[in-house]
Symmetry: C2
């Protein structure tokens, strides 16, 4: 019998998150569970009940936070308004702080890194998030970096939404080796061909999107004027 | 008031599907719903109840098949053994046939195209699927093509798992224009950087995986020897 304790990769779920932030890295890590003995993947929520996402699909976690208090890896997905609102959710932040505390690696996708920041976990670290909110990282004592994913010690933060897939492959390489990460890439056929090519960043009109991103932040934190002021002043 | 009827993009859900096959294109199409008036996205299942996926996450459809009998676009995700098993699920195949019948576009991800094939919808068409099962398409009268996605008339079939994101962006471009597709790509930050580069297809040892893919097929269709024989003889 295998005596090695299971190394648990845990994904945190909360209402309104962006589905692909969760599903991309979860698919990658579930494949690891199937290929490599000793790993298991779980999805943690307050309760094992349906949770809304930012799509018409609701999702059901596999376990509660209480059931898996000390994961080997923690991954925190992001989202738009509901995630920004969760920056003031002390219960969720305490959950993340506790789960991250003993974790070997902590990953985030998109604005999930803002939750890590609000939980006080990114102080003095290099990190990234969705391009709309990259500058906000400074308000949590982090140094924003415009990369697909950023590694700083045991923290691996990814850029927006789809970047979670790249981050998760890197995360698998760190905990189980590059060969397994490459095999998973092959099995999920991750050989991207965006129909209109890569994003042309120099051509992106960031000013055009700023009112929308600031409006989402203001609306999400309308009941928390002090936090909003701290993030926008 | 807007008088144009809503154009509904419907995703089909069934037990055991691959989460990312669903979540990738669903994220893309949900963004379209938010950006362009006149579109709505739904997820269809037999019942509005939790459905298992090939990850620890269960998902809850937004509607039943009966509630949305004539979608504008139908998208069918794939999976491994449960999807192969569903090749013999006449009730599901009838659902897909009916929903596809009046659809403007029909998309599939991964082995979702095998379901379309089993439903008799790909005869005489060029199509693709997960690389493990590409040759199976011939058994449904289709011509397999090794591309990220394949368009043949109103059918758009994607390669394995993650290819659904690329396919969905192309699908959005077809129904709503390239500009919106590019905007969605920017919002979900789909600017992939696989950590170990693209898949090196010439170096892939397909023979190594064949026993596994054939075993999955044999196990999935153990109760349907005639169909299994038709697919493997």
């Amino acid at each position: 019998m295998e005596q090695t304790p299971l190394r648990t990769i845990a994904f945190a779920v909360y209402p309104g998150l962006t589905l692909l932030d969760l599903a991309g890295p979860l698919q990658v890590c579930s494949a690891l569970e199937q290929l490599a003995p000793g790993f298991r993947t779980v999805v943690l929520g307050e309760r094992v009940e349906p949770v809304d996402t930012d799509t018409p699909l609701a999702v059901v976690p596999s376990h509660t936070f209480d059931e898996v208090p000390e994961p080997f890896v923690l991954v925190v997905p992001g989202g738009l308004e509901p995630t920004l609102k969760a920056l003031a959710d002390e219960r969720l932040l305490a959950r993340l702080r506790k789960a991250a505390d003993g974790a070997h690696l902590v990953g985030s996708v998109c604005t999930g890194s803002l939750l890590l920041g609000a939980a006080g976990l990114l102080e003095g670290r290099r990190a990234t998030t969705h391009w709309w909110y990259r500058d906000l990282l400074t308000r949590f004592g982090a140094t924003p970096v415009a990369q697909r994913w950023v590694e700083d010690g045991r923290y691996v933060t990814a850029a927006g939404v789809s970047a979670g897939i790249d981050m998760a492959l890197q995360l698998v390489a760190r905990v189980a080796g590059e060969e397994l990460a490459r095999e998973i890439q092959l099995l999920i056929e991750y050989d991207p061909e965006p129909p209109f090519g890569p994003i042309d960043w120099p051509a992106v009109d960031a000013d055009h999107y700023r009112p929308r991103s600031q409006q989402a932040l203001a609306s999400a934190l309308a009941d928390h004027p002090e936090l909003l002021a701290r993030l926008t002043s």
